[in-house]
Symmetry: D2
Subunit: 362 residues, 4 copies
């Protein structure tokens, strides 16, 4: 089988990531200036292979819970009543945009066969054309136009429920073959068109742990989530949009470069947190990392195991590459970790993800 060179190198990178995962676990004691933390999670019942992942996936599977035709999953928890309550959280009139800039200086680097690239922006008409007296056919009117080219998951984005497959199926049991080169016939991002509104809650794990950022490969456990919500005096409730801050974006800003942000070792959710999220019936989870879950993965024989449990099986809406820095600072100051959250998708028909500019409104 021939591959393009780009594909080969990305295979090797991803391969290295999971090959190193299991071996290095436990013994990872190198410290860096991010103040390395030993995970507080008990090692009992830790999932370390595909067998465990599958058991969890089946246990948390929500297929059919909202009907055989559902294409929404856990965002069904975000009801109108929740929206009304969320609006009442707007007290200061302050808006926090949780999006990184969409431009060529973004986090993408050769990955996935070099296919996830940073946004390309190019002009179709310019002001310099006007200054240079380029011929323009319209009386008096002058203007500029432009276009963009971008993978839907290149910067701050939502995953659609058609983005990840589990044993040939996607959310609610739809066959993955419904995602063809013509797009997703089921679970396309357009299903969320008028859905992404509700109460947002920030769990600032890094602040709670009193570090600038969690170390790469730090596993956030269910105990960590509880500890943080206790310390913030905020309850995570049914239908919430849960934002989890690891500090990884702070690290990027401090060092002035994305480096291995996309796909590299990163702090993130442990597999077992899927159960916690299931129990709390959250509508969505988003983080300040590339892929929400911890990397390297704890499972040698299964890449991105947490994704596989929560996205195709639980039906969880997932957001990635959120910039939570400004919001976190404000929450740290006023000690209010809940807010109205509005983060519309752009309804690209049949897309498996969408750029978004999420708003936390306090």
């Amino acid at each position: 089988m021939r591959y393009k060179l780009g594909t080969i190198s990305s295979i090797m990178m991803w391969g290295d990531l999971w090959r190193n995962a299991y071996n290095t676990y436990g013994a990872r004691l190198k410290t860096d200036n991010s103040l390395f933390l030993i995970s507080s999670r008990s090692s009992m019942n830790k999932i370390t292979d595909l067998g465990g992942v599958k058991q969890l996936a089946l246990r948390l599977r929500n297929w059919g819970r909202w009907g055989a035709n559902d294409e929404l999953g856990t965002i069904n928890f975000a009801t109108g009543e929740k929206i009304v309550n969320a609006a009442r959280l707007v007290r200061k009139g302050k808006v926090f945009s949780l999006s990184i800039p969409f431009d060529s200086a973004g986090p993408q680097r050769p990955l996935l066969g070099e296919r996830r690239f940073n946004p390309i922006h190019t002009m179709l008409m310019t002001g310099s054309d006007v200054t240079a007296d380029a011929p323009i056919p319209w009386p008096f009117f002058r203007g500029a136009d432009d276009l963009v080219i971008l993978p839907t998951q290149c910067a701050t984005h939502w995953d659609a429920l058609s983005h990840v497959f589990y044993e040939g199926k996607m959310w609610n049991g739809y066959d993955c073959s419904l995602v063809t080169s013509a797009g997703a016939q089921k679970n396309g991002i357009e299903n969320y068109k008028d859905k992404v509104v509700g109460r947002g809650v920030l769990l600032d794990i890094a602040r709670c742990k009193k570090v600038k950022w969690l170390s790469p490969s730090y596993e956030i456990t269910s105990e960590d989530l509880d500890e943080c919500s206790n310390s913030e005096k905020v309850n995570v409730e049914r239908g919430d949009f849960l934002l989890i801050r690891t500090g990884r974006m702070a690290q990027v800003k401090e060092r002035g470069g994305w480096e291995d942000y996309a796909g590299g070792d990163a702090p993130g959710l442990a597999i077992e947190t899927a159960e916690w999220l299931y129990r709390h019936e959250v509508a969505a989870v988003a983080t300040d990392t590339w892929g929400v879950e911890v990397r390297p993965n704890a499972t040698k024989d299964c890449m991105q195991p947490w994704h596989l449990v929560v996205l195709p099986n639980m039906g969880l809406l997932m957001g990635e590459i959120f910039d939570l820095e400004e919001l976190a600072e404000d929450c740290g100051e006023d000690k209010v970790y809940e807010f109205m959250f509005v983060a519309p998708v752009i309804p690209f028909t049949g897309a498996v993800g969408s750029p978004t500019n999420p708003y936390a409104i306090k």
Copy 2:
């Protein structure tokens, strides 16, 4: 001077539009099933040439009003206090998405040298690849990825203040030469990153006039706006996001095709409404049409005169191709024409517009 064929044909189309504008005015009495309306506006002081446009532009010019370095314009009116009040309008927990689908079935047709095209969506990995047992380098994990190509103004969108120039200048007096092929160095869409939140008000002119849609070329006057707000018992206030419904989207849906929606004859705001908007100090205006203002334009020697007054001179945020149908129906039922409005831009650095999926939340 050589042109591409595409450019030539678009020149001719636009040319025809304005050539026909003045001549046909007044005499346009053809009736169609949209119930043709004679405009209720007084013909006194009607602006019909560039001279009038220029006078109005200078009178309504807001340059310097928010400082010499401002890149935001009238959205400065949408203060934090307004946001708090807007959130109180959320009573039913109902979300209305005002975006059309982003796909190849959109409204664009050969125009602007054929450069505004409908969104192109293409897959980078598919589920059918998985079903067909394509080689995938990752253990157990399977998924789909995609990319999109789109002019920023191809579907529901906001204009940036770098989109339209007036005598070589853009909003706040910045030189239009700051918009080069590298993008807008000033007034780029990213300035609105955390700004588009506030009170929304729907003026449903078509409903007020008791028609399914206003006839193409119907000029909405300041009197129409007053009449409508009176009839709806809603005051348009400083900092509001004003949504104006002409019914043109209803017409598209009923006939089942976009046809000349983009760039054709359309109902829209008369030039003189710029003064009304200035007086009411709205933050933004958006409509269910391609270009907000009436077409054909009333000025033979100036294309899109209302744009030229309000965008580069007043600094008005402008939204186009909004789908107001569902929202209008709901407002017609509960007689509540105000709501919380949240419509984030995607912050493409240096872009002169942005796709958006605006939410009206009641």
Copy 3:
């Protein structure tokens, strides 16, 4: 099953095309200004259904002929010796480019789910930027840069042997599942990288029939090919690159618009000519039409039957949307219908087609 609107309309269009095919055959006696011709082919043994197509496909199948690993097909006939002989045909030093312009004024229109669009060209740096004194970081050097977006088959192009499948297989028996969203793992266009050189022969059927262009739906038969080569006093030989002129491009030029050029009714090769081409062992066939073969297709139950026989089964290199007008005029004048032919693909790794600018050199 949901479809995008664009897909639906294209389905209907293609559907109409084949629905009309069989019924109208024989009775098509409408005349237009292209001088309608009754096909000279005998009606004996005419293939009119899938059964006949399959029999022919199996009879002409070349799988294994050049080894089990071949990805080149009939271009194997174009040997080095043929290239030397072809070069001897260069006597006048005249070069004919057979490519149409690559720009937004091209032949594509909404088709294939609107996915085959005309080339999009956009600038990354411009001269007007320079004139307008845009900041440029380099000492003294000034320049322009640009990018293009194009379906590989949007204008003058070669099909790769991975472009058409027959019962789940492509050329030489490779499974069609080897063409994934990562590209063609077998039979990609890059295989032709250094191959497209040899003797070109023009069969100008329209001129031979003494018409400006063959009528849409005119079926070119094997007898027509023989008649034309006799009249031109040129033998079609093993390894030749055969160019067949229907005059359809002349029609486009005369009427000044592409109209239904892409996918509409068109003159073209009858299914049975596959046998003729097989017998003559040509390296490639190209025409001045969108799809080489006659449209509507003669088979109700099989779209593009000739493609299915010659591309995946015979392994024939196929060129489409060639502009043969200038070349034909020259051949008509000097009565020399053979020439050196050089038409490189751009070697996009894994692509199923490639733009080309073919040269006929006399």
Copy 4:
């Protein structure tokens, strides 16, 4: 003035390149495994600043030489007679493709504000769709389609005469403001549509110097060109397409990575060779490097001085990123360094460059 981050870093990189240029000249004695060579050129009359560049540019300026409306430049030297003679050089029937693969593994890296990227190839229909039984509207026919996105200069390419400007002018004195965001109104690549055919000559400087590749920053002088043509017993004549091999592509292949190939230090033509090329009246020059001329540039106050002399002033057709390895090996074996050369542009209307797959035919 704000810049995008990408732009800033590219500015710095380019800046570093020219800052280092003059200082390091002469003293560069570090040796690497490419066998460092002291340039054989006399240091007399060496051009080291913009003043010298300007004098040379004016002396070699060909404006008006082929009429006031010419958009072709030196390729005018490649006459029909030359083409006939070139064809006679085809003796073995061997074709050498001089193109690198067009894919994501290409030489581009963040440069020019990250705007020159490697080709992006994505599928619109796939074989895996077929295998997975995706709904397809056509009877029996199955196939694949795709699209590409690429900067015209990302891989093997020709520069158009609209690519480089000199004091606000391009080739033949046309104003650079004729290159707007709508494309090049003059000197667009489409002018070469049927032009790029003639006699090719390979000057294999690396082989002549008995090294695998010239060291980065090695300046090829006029004396080197003469020495090489003497050693190869081939005369460079009027109208020739001159291919110059530095071995840089061999270095890339041996080390298995492009690294700083694009924009980094590289062997290449000295400024003064412009005079040699002018005297020999070549039609075009192409090399196996990113930018033909030596880097770092010898002039501190002028980036790419040789470009500025030969492209806008002399009107020289220039090719870059040619893979000359296979051809060079063959020439080394049979000692024949001349051949027929055919390298069509893809005629993108108004483009400032074009991908090409050049053929050397022996």
